[in-house]
């Protein structure tokens, strides 16, 4: 057996470093009024006004080809924009999914009609997407999904329920994976659609999470008529299309920076008190963070070169989630301060991140699923 991973180091080109300074400059004024709680949530924090400003700068669809209205810049430059936004605590949640995966999916598989209709709004930071994959009886076992789209003339009639749909309440569209043929054909019977969430028969119900926040939704489809022109890619190709999408979803800087605000706040506390008690632990976190960043950047480089780093992406996401989840516990061990949403900045960050950290190893593929993928790569399955 040889090691199945190939993480080659990737350097940022000089134009990416120039862009980094522009983004920092922009954020130094754009974030003044954003509350701490929103900042702590990074890509789960949404502010439509902020998204429009980012769109105005041309930083949404940065790496999309210019023929689709993108800036045609490299994946490395896009990476810089993302990591600067996340570490600054910018509320990028509204446009995040559309920029990261829905737009690229439409560019890759969409019809020109779909592209002309939807892409301009994404680029302006005004059109938002959610992901319709999970269902009540289909979580990690995605291929067990049951929501049906039945062809009837020029339309598909959709019935079923999507669950844990983040941000659906503010999105115009969902990229949904529906079953278009009989259940025995687990993988081959799945098809992706672009679903306009304002269509009659679509009901979006909030699911409040343990921290009292409204991110999740249940999206119910009752005889929803989706025009066949909104099928994306090929009928029956949904599984393969989704798999390709997941490589984009699993390796980005959001997969290890979710608790970044807390780490920064911890350093701030130590600096202000001139306290070196937890110094070794801070250094260890710095070493882990830096290594994760090099790994994640390496995957961005592979994507930029047109490679398929699906396995490497799973490695980054698994290690990244462990890192993100350890931070609230570490912060608790090092500081004798209670998590308190009414307390000082550190306590407020600690309160929010302690509560939301269980989700880090669930969203975008659970820890167990990712490790199963890695084990297959190692030749164990």
């Amino acid at each position: 057996m040889s090691i199945p991973f190939n993480f080659r180091l990737t350097d940022f080109p000089s134009e990416a470093e120039t862009l980094r300074l522009e983004v920092r400059e922009f954020l130094s004024t754009a974030l003044v009024d954003v509350p701490k709680e929103t900042r702590a949530e990074t890509w789960y924090g949404a502010d439509e006004g902020f998204s429009r400003k980012v769109g105005e700068r041309g930083w949404i669809g940065l790496s999309w080809p210019t023929e689709f209205g993108g800036s045609g810049r490299s994946a490395m430059e896009r990476y810089v924009v993302l990591e600067e936004m996340l570490t600054a605590g910018a509320p990028v949640g509204a446009h995040w999914i559309a920029d990261r995966q829905s737009g690229p999916l439409i560019i890759r598989y969409g019809t020109s009609e779909q592209q002309e209709k939807i892409l301009p709004g994404i680029l302006k930071g005004e059109t938002y997407f959610c992901i319709g994959m999970s269902e009540p009886d289909s979580g990690s076992d995605l291929a067990a999904l049951r929501t049906k789209a039945e062809k009837k003339g020029e339309k598909y009639i959709v019935n079923g329920t999507k669950l844990w749909t983040s941000g659906a309440q503010r999105c115009q569209y969902m990229i949904a994976l529906f079953r278009t043929s009989k259940e025995e054909d687990r993988h081959g019977g799945l098809t992706q659609f672009i679903v306009d969430l304002t269509l009659p028969g679509v009901t979006i119900r909030p699911i409040i999470d343990l921290a009292g926040r409204h991110h999740f939704n249940e999206v119910i489809f009752e005889d929803v008529e989706v025009p066949e022109t909104m099928l994306i890619g090929k009928e029956g190709d949904g599984w393969n299309q989704v798999t390709a999408e997941l490589a984009l979803e699993r390796s980005g800087p959001e997969r290890y920076l979710s608790s970044y605000a807390l780490l920064q706040e911890l350093i701030k506390e130590f600096s202000e008190r001139n306290d070196y008690e937890g110094v070794t632990e801070i250094g260890r976190q710095m070493a882990h963070l830096t290594t994760l960043r090099q790994m994640s950047v390496s995957v961005a480089g592979m994507l930029n070169d047109g490679d398929n780093p699906a396995l490497e992406a799973s490695v980054v996401k698994d290690l990244g989630a462990v890192f993100e989840q350890d931070l609230p516990n570490l912060a608790h061990r090092l500081m004798d301060l209670e998590p308190d949403s009414q307390g000082n900045d550190f306590q407020r960050y600690l309160a929010i991140l302690t509560q939301i950290s269980p989700s880090f190893s669930l969203r975008g593929g659970t820890r167990e699923i990712l490790r199963g993928i890695i084990a297959r790569g190692l030749g164990l399955r």
Binding site: F5, I267, T280, E281, T291, V315, L378
Partner: protein, 348 residues
């Protein structure tokens, strides 16, 4: 693999080590038998000169190239001072000192000073001291920092081993003559840093080896009627091991590449600290998967794991390097934390 030189070095080391670094070779080395044939091949192929400029008869390679060899040493647990000789040749090169013919070099790491051209000081854990003819060291001469070359003789060495039974003698120099020396403008902590860089890469290689062995074993060992690798509990553990192996390789490359860019302080500290954590998790999983057989001397897993446990403590433990990172982060304040990571620089 970044370029042709790397590929060539990788292939050469693979061929040489797979031919010569047999289990017997390692077992013999633990009994104090010098693997002469292996060493001769290594020297004949010029692998020790990877960092020496071409005009001086070397390969003229980069630190990324050298990293390929350091990792190969770890992957095969080659019981020879190749890494130490690569580093020593590099240090001598910094001072423009020519390497004596047929010498085996080692690195003296400790506080040394000179008085009227006689050198004193001690190097408590000197790698492969029992086989080395010469020592390379950094020393103070008045206010000057110098690189020097000394001849070693048995009277100066108190032999000792590390836990992996690699020679690590205590060397005391008491007003010994210097063969050659030159004043240099370099970091007084240079040897410790290069040592940490070298061991980080070797550990990344040894971690690859224990992953490979563990996966092979899990696919071969049958219990409950099937290979134990078919059980999810084992699969999940091996997946975790592999994530640490991947991280270690990246951290080691990051350190080597930062060395090539002339800005290695941050990256070396990151690598030694990150890989130390990988060793703690990784060696544990490898032994768990191997069960009792991996705990025997007969089985070869321990050649890698005992080295990992020794190497993680050499040239500063992970905690030592983490402490340096943490102190800088706290003293510079939270505003500079992220820029220091994006620039890979401790002192912005």
């Amino acid at each position: 693999m970044t370029n042709e030189t790397s590929q060539l070095l990788y292939d050469t080391a693979e061929k040489l080590f797979s031919d010569h670094v047999t289990k017997n070779c390692i077992v013999d080395s633990e009994k104090g038998i010098w693997p002469d044939k292996l060493w001769t091949e290594v020297i004949d192929n010029g692998l020790n000169l990877v960092l020496v400029p071409e005009e001086l008869g070397g390969v003229g390679g980069s630190w990324m190239n050298a990293g390929i060899l350091f990792k190969a040493i770890g992957r095969y647990q080659a019981p020879i001072p190749l890494a130490e000789n690569i580093i020593s040749s590099y240090i001598l090169g910094l001072a423009g000192i020519e390497q004596p013919d047929n010498s085996i070099l080692t690195i003296l790491n400790g506080a040394f000073f000179a008085e009227s051209n006689l050198i004193s000081g001690s190097s408590p854990r000197t790698p492969f001291s029992s086989y080395s003819s010469h020592g390379v060291l950094l020393f103070k001469d008045g206010s000057d920092l110098k690189i020097g070359l000394v001849e070693l003789n048995k009277n100066n060495i108190k032999e000792n081993n590390n836990m992996a039974l690699e020679s690590r003698g205590h060397i005391d120099l008491d007003k010994e003559p210097i063969i050659k020396s030159a004043t240099v403008d370099c970091d007084s902590n240079l040897i410790n840093k290069l040592g940490a860089l070298m061991r980080s890469n070797q550990m990344a290689g040894a971690l690859e080896a224990i992953l490979t062995q563990s996966v092979r074993y899990a696919n071969e060992r049958i219990q409950f009627g099937r290979p134990i690798g078919k059980f999810q509990a084992i699969q999940q553990d091996l997946a975790v091991l592999s994530t640490h192996v991947a991280a270690s390789s990246v951290a080691a490359d990051y350190a080597s590449s930062s060395m090539d860019k002339g800005n290695p302080d941050f990256a070396i500290a990151v690598a030694k600290s990150r890989i130390d954590d990988a060793v703690s998790v990784g060696a544990g999983i490898a032994h768990q998967v191997h069960g009792a057989i991996g705990f025997t001397y007969e089985h070869g897993l321990h050649f890698a794991t005992r080295r990992l446990w020794s190497w993680r403590a050499e040239y500063g433990s992970g905690s030592e390097w983490a402490k340096l990172l943490g102190e800088k982060a706290i003293s510079h304040g939270s505003e500079k934390f992220w820029p220091s990571i994006t620039q890979g620089n401790l002192d912005l």
